[in-house]
């Protein structure tokens, strides 16, 4: 599904450029030839195979993949919940398996937020704070930040899925970690809650300098919030790109013109042009280029007395990119 957007959005461009520049910094988290094989009743299952990934600081990094692709396994390896068969997870160059401090500088929300149902939200967070040796006094502030201000003394068993997810977010933020790993953070949230969560995550990155790594199945959400994405499929990273590159690399313009075939022959020496729909002499041209070329194309057409009725910039959506990446991998197999 292609998405329409304005030809040029200076604020968006500035934000993307800033993210790109930030992306050139030393990686905060690295996966170095990471592999994991599980042994079970059905034999050995290779969940992850030689995964290499470097995640730069101060950005939202999207981690995508179909069910069973290895996303959760990777996240668990990052948190030292499971042991790699080979390879390392490095936090600022330090192996998380050899340094407790390295793991403790990562806040995480793994799959469904898990809490003690019989305890209140405040008690759950206090317990986690004590377990990590953090100050318990930060708990009320964190609960307010995630919108659970009035519910701190309610038992978690009374919470909705969305409230538990918010509590999970607060738990991840305990101790003000440098990196946040969030597995499906918008799970169970209503549209307003999802919007709030997006803004909150963006604020954490832009204003508080955090690095957020999130996995999600909601690709439109990922596209809206992430600076970079990696697609994992069958235990391997199959694509990694910035969202900006993704947009620019697969952009095209659609122009409604008359006469369409004359317009195509005018533009074809300079651009890759396809004639799409034609009704008599009126029709659509699909030009493989980004919106930066729009003025030149327009000038070229007008100089040849071609009528231009509409012009749209279109981009490949993340969903298309995702499907292409995962389908290509299947075909290769």
């Amino acid at each position: 599904m292609a998405a329409d957007r304005p030809l040029f959005d200076p604020i968006m461009e500035l934000s993307r450029t800033s993210a790109m520049l930030k992306g050139r910094m030393n990686p905060v988290l690295e996966l170095d030839d990471l592999s994991k094989t599980f042994s079970g009743k059905k034999g050995r299952v290779e969940a992850l195979c030689d995964v290499n990934l470097a995640i730069s600081p101060h950005q939202v990094f999207g981690f995508l993949g179909p069910n069973g692709a290895g996303k959760s396994t990777t996240i668990r390896l990052m948190l030292d919940l499971i042991r790699p068969t080979s390879g390392r997870v490095l936090m600022h160059g330090v192996d998380v398996r050899s340094s407790r401090e390295a793991v403790q500088s990562i806040g995480a929300l793994v799959e469904d937020a898990a809490f003690y149902r019989f305890l209140t939200a405040h008690d759950n967070l206090s317990l986690l704070a004590r377990t990590a040796g953090h100050d318990v006094n930060q708990v009320p502030g964190l609960l307010s930040q995630v919108g659970l201000g009035g519910n701190e003394h309610r038992a978690v068993k009374e919470f909705s899925t969305g409230m538990k997810q918010r509590l999970g977010m607060a738990a991840a933020l305990l101790g003000d970690p440098e990196v946040l790993i969030l597995d499906e953070p918008t799970n169970g949230l209503d549209p307003a809650g999802m919007h709030e969560m997006r803004q909150f995550l963006r604020m954490l990155v832009d204003e508080r300098g955090k690095t957020v790594i999130l996995s999600s199945h909601i690709l439109s959400e990922v596209e809206l919030i992430c600076d970079r994405v990696a697609i994992i499929h069958m235990g391997r990273i199959v694509r990694e790109t910035s969202v900006d590159e993704l947009r620019r690399g697969r952009a095209h313009l659609r122009v409604e013109v008359e006469p369409v075939h004359t317009a195509a022959s005018v533009l074809q020496p300079h651009w890759v042009v396809e004639v799409e729909a034609v009704k008599e002499s009126l029709g659509w041209l699909r030009i493989s280029t980004d919106e930066g070329q729009a003025p030149f194309i327009l000038r070229e057409l007008l100089e040849h007395d071609i009528d231009v009725y509409q012009m749209h910039a279109q981009h490949q959506s993340l969903e298309e990119y995702f499907l292409e990446a995962t389908t290509a991998e299947k075909l290769d197999d």
């Binding site: 948190l79 499971i82 407790r100 995480a108 809490f115 004590r130 040796g133």
Partner: protein, 290 residues
């Protein structure tokens, strides 16, 4: 570590429903029982002998719920159930994944085992206070004829014995915590952990009988001496050495392993550390996948 212990304590006590039916069963049950006895007495029932008995004896024997056969064979069950649920529950509730990245695994498990043992000792200690001083005071208020207390010359011995029983109960509770942890680590389910920890506890307690049977079947009488390497024997033997300066008399035919006090303490420590380290080693290597 203090923070971890506080966190574990909060978690253990916070599960009110489970704690109410397991670890608080003895103090609350006994408290209610004494109140009912008091009501029966007030309405003319013949319960004066039970209510007015001396307070020192019941205070000591309460600890048998954990440490001595046959009381402990049933007495331990609710306590073991509590511990099994609290360790295996972390797997079923999926809460390990929130805790493990925040603290070293060995610390987490050790804090859990210590907190569980302490809460058990606290619960049995509370029960012993209810069975002794509370009952005695309550009887006096009701006007029940009470038995005379120990002569002051014997008080010191009583206090020493009480401290010893508390210490032995703590050691036994640590063993139970190890059984529960080991069962939870191996099965990762509450039901599996309950069954396995009950099984381990019963096996340990009935080990002399099983060893006797086995020695008869295999015609190897010396086999029964292996009982000397089980925590139940070591705890009984330590008690006997401290109180009577001699090894415990088990009464089992063919049993002839009269272990000295030093060896008993050493073996008790080595076994406990061994069990604890085994649990920690298993947990350290385990993948937390749920």
């Amino acid at each position: 570590m203090i923070n971890l212990l506080r966190a574990e304590w909060k978690k253990l006590v916070g599960n009110r429903m489970l704690a109410g039916f397991t670890i608080w069963l003895y103090p609350v049950g006994l408290f209610a029982f004494i109140l009912v006895m008091g009501v029966i007495f007030v309405f003319g029932g013949d319960v004066g002998a039970e209510l007015g008995s001396s307070w020192e004896g019941p205070m000591l024997t309460t600890w048998n719920l954990v440490t001595r056969f046959p009381n402990a064979s049933i007495g331990r069950l609710p306590l073991l159930a509590f511990m099994a649920v609290m360790v295996a529950g972390e797997y079923e509730w999926g809460t390990w994944k929130s805790l493990v990245p925040r603290s070293a695994r060995w610390k987490l498990l050790l804090a859990k085992m210590l907190a569980m043992a302490l809460i058990l000792v606290f619960s049995i200690g509370l029960t012993s206070l209810i069975s002794g001083p509370f009952r005695y005071t309550f009887s006096t208020i009701l006007g029940v004829e009470t038995a005379p207390g120990l002569p002051s010359a014997e008080r010191v011995t009583f206090y020493q014995a009480y401290v010893l029983e508390t210490l032995l109960a703590f050691i036994q509770s640590m063993y139970l915590a190890c059984f529960a942890s080991l069962s939870a680590l191996l099965t990762r389910t509450i039901v599996g952990s309950l069954l396995l920890s009950f099984g381990l506890s019963m096996l340990e307690m009935l080990s002399p009988i099983l060893l006797m049977l086995l020695s008869r079947i295999l015609v190897r009488p010396g086999m029964v001496n292996a009982y000397a390497y089980f925590p139940s024997y070591l705890i009984d033997n330590l008690r006997s050495w401290v109180l009577h300066a001699q090894p415990v008399y088990t009464g089992f035919p063919d049993f002839s392993n009269d272990m000295g006090a030093g060896a008993t303490v050493l073996l008790l420590t080595v076994l406990l550390c061994g069990f604890g380290l085994l649990c920690i080693w298993l947990f350290q290597r385990q993948d937390i996948t749920n």
